[in-house]
């Protein structure tokens, strides 16, 4: 046995978390399609329920296939551990759950996936939580938004709908100053392009539905903990630092040390919120993740080529891709995501809303879907779909103006993608 820490990304994306099945020797991770697990004895069962031992109890909490994926993602992110759940939205609620309570808030970047703006801006109010949206280009505004009821900072590494790279380190410094965790949604970048923990992030959330699975088959989410935040440094995080009545008064952080947040995620989060990932979904995502680095290289290569072509096209008003030297965020690639700015961006079409709708309808290879991170190239008119619930101001802040379409560049032949766009732009602007 050698130390896994020294292995490269390409090795870890295939091997981390997985071992040959001890009973059968099966090399690919089996789909453990079971709800429950037989206890060795009554004492074993009691110890598992008391959190004195780690083991499988019930698939709402843990499952061997799902656990492989959780370890795989947490290893690729350089975290201490991970919890998988049913979707990226579930991951966000589960990530906030141990930190928040009625009257408390999260200070969040306003450059977000539209669904997150709605989840944070509206839905979480029903739990008594709230979000303060800030412009992360204005660090003084971010700092000033933090108040005594703030429990976390939140941002996306490469923000959806694209074109923006967050200065994670600058936000981490503000979070550190206030003794708060920084949560980074790393969905659009994936750990191949960006390692938020290296830049000071405390927690990572993912929609595994996107690049990690990569084939548009299953929805899923994941939370990764860096394991470095001191939850007991102050009294802001009682779920982790104070006695938990449901476990006879056990204090998670005192008992589990750096593993506390993850144990809480399973033992309280999954137990009581029940946003569980199923083993079939974990299986498809495990298959996808084996080729993550290969796909991401090709996604980035294609995105750079397509974006450069669009930028020169007279029918196109502007392209937001941060991988273009003209982007104001181009310089951040070197520090935040050195292997590339991802494959998600927007472009504005001359002719506005009408032209965008026509463009989307005229494409043959690009699919008109509300998803991203597929091997297939995807397109969506955000203002009429994913960002529809937002106010015009929110749409603008998120980069989803009415004359803008978002593309998720796939791994097809880039010349075919360009030809498809060329034809559709002609149809849209003629």
């Amino acid at each position: 046995m050698s130390d896994g820490t020294s292995y490269g990304f390409d090795t870890l994306q295939i091997h981390a978390g997985a071992r040959p099945d001890s009973d059968t020797g099966a090399r690919q991770t089996p789909i453990y399609q079971t709800t429950a697990y037989v206890f060795r004895s009554a004492d074993h069962a009691a110890a598992l329920f008391n959190l004195q031992e780690v083991g499988y109890i019930y698939s709402r909490l843990t499952n061997p296939t799902v656990a492989v994926l959780a370890e795989r993602i947490s290893t690729l992110e350089g975290g201490i551990g991970g919890v998988c759940c049913s979707s990226g939205h579930a991951a966000q609620i589960m990530a906030l759950f141990p930190l928040m309570g009625p009257g408390l808030n999260v200070v969040s970047s306003n450059r977000l996936y539209g669904g997150t703006v709605t989840q944070f801006g509206r839905t979480i109010h029903r739990f008594g939580w709230s979000a303060k949206f800030v412009d992360t280009e204005n660090l003084e505004e971010v700092d000033a938004a933090v108040d005594e009821n703030t429990r976390a900072l939140f941002c996306e590494s490469i923000a959806n709908p694209g074109g923006y790279i967050t200065d994670i380190e600058a936000l981490a410094k503000i979070a550190d100053k206030h003794g708060l965790p920084l949560i980074v949604d790393n969905t659009s970048a994936t750990p191949f392009l960006c390692k938020p923990i290296d830049h000071g992030a405390t927690l990572i959330v993912h929609s595994t539905t996107k690049y990690l699975t990569g084939n548009g088959t299953v929805t899923g989410g994941a939370i990764v903990d860096s394991g470095i935040f001191d939850w007991s440094a102050n009294d802001k995080f009682p779920s982790l630092s104070q006695p938990e009545p449901a476990y006879h008064g056990l204090k998670f952080h005192e008992t589990f040390g750096p593993l506390a947040y993850m144990f809480h995620g399973i033992a309280v989060g999954l137990r009581d919120l029940g946003m569980t990932m199923n083993p079939q979904a974990a299986h498809y995502t495990l298959l996808g993740i084996e080729t993550l680095s290969l796909r991401m290289k090709k996604h980035v290569e294609n995105a750079e080529k397509v974006a450069a072509w669009l930028e020169k096209d007279p029918r196109v008003e502007s392209v937001t891709y941060a991988g273009l030297p003209s982007s104001p965020y181009y310089d951040r690639i070197a520090t935040v995501c050195p292997k590339g700015a991802g494959a998600l961006f927007t472009f504005a079409v001359k002719g506005g809303y009408e032209a965008c709708v026509k463009l989307v309808d005229s494409l043959e290879i690009f699919s008109h879907v509300a998803n991203l991170g597929d091997t297939r190239s995807l397109i969506i008119h955000s203002a009429s779909t994913t960002h529809r619930q937002l106010t015009p101001d929110q749409q603008r802040a998120a980069g989803a103006d009415p004359n803008v379409v978002r593309v998720s560049i796939g791994i097809e032949d880039p010349d075919d993608l360009i030809a498809d766009l060329d034809k559709a732009l002609t149809a849209a602007t003629s």
Binding site: S2, G4, R19, A70, G78, G81, G257, I266
Partner: protein, 165 residues
């Protein structure tokens, strides 16, 4: 086994240490089932190690089949520990390590739990060819290396294509 010069034991060295070890003495252990130290000794005892609890406040009580002793000097002959696992504040660590080194000539390691660091005691142990580990937990390391934390999605850093490692 190989003797690491600092805290950075490799996973191979941790595995060797935890496989070779038969007996722990756990200094400062609590008899309260909710305390982390109780979690640790319960785990180590069930994992098959002999665990001698050391705590003057509970001397004479029995925990996991072993009588609690008041101090290291009270550990009976035949129960000399391979590892002295320390749950006491850093300032109390030097005296514990000095006593352990003088009492147990075959001691393999002194192990300070998470949150406990005492470089001076670690240096002293290493000068006597005894491994010193700081700010770590033997329960977590054993669970990590022997497949248990894997069941909960933790990053175990164990990569192997073999059926048994």
């Amino acid at each position: 086994m190989d003797l690491p010069a600092n805290d950075e034991l490799s996973d191979y060295q941790y595995r060797q240490l935890l496989t070779k070890t038969k007996c722990f003495a756990c200094v400062g252990v609590s008899a309260n089932p909710l305390r982390p130290s109780y979690f640790v000794i319960r785990y180590l005892a069930l994992a098959g190690y002999r665990v001698i609890p050391v705590n003057p406040a509970h001397a004479g009580k029995t925990l996991f089949g072993e009588q609690v002793v008041a101090d290291l000097a009270s550990i009976p002959k035949g129960a000399e520990p391979d590892i002295v696992d320390i749950f006491r504040r850093p300032k109390e660590v030097p005296a514990i390590v000095e006593e352990a080194l003088s009492l147990f000539p075959n001691l393999i390691a002194v192990w300070m739990q998470i949150g406990i660091k005492c470089p001076e005691a670690a240096t002293l142990a290493r000068s006597k060819n005894v491994i010193a580990i700081q700010d770590r937990c033997p329960k977590i390391e054993r669970q990590r290396l022997f497949g248990e934390l894997r069941m909960a999605g933790f990053n175990t850093r164990v990569i192997s294509s073999r059926l048994k490692i």
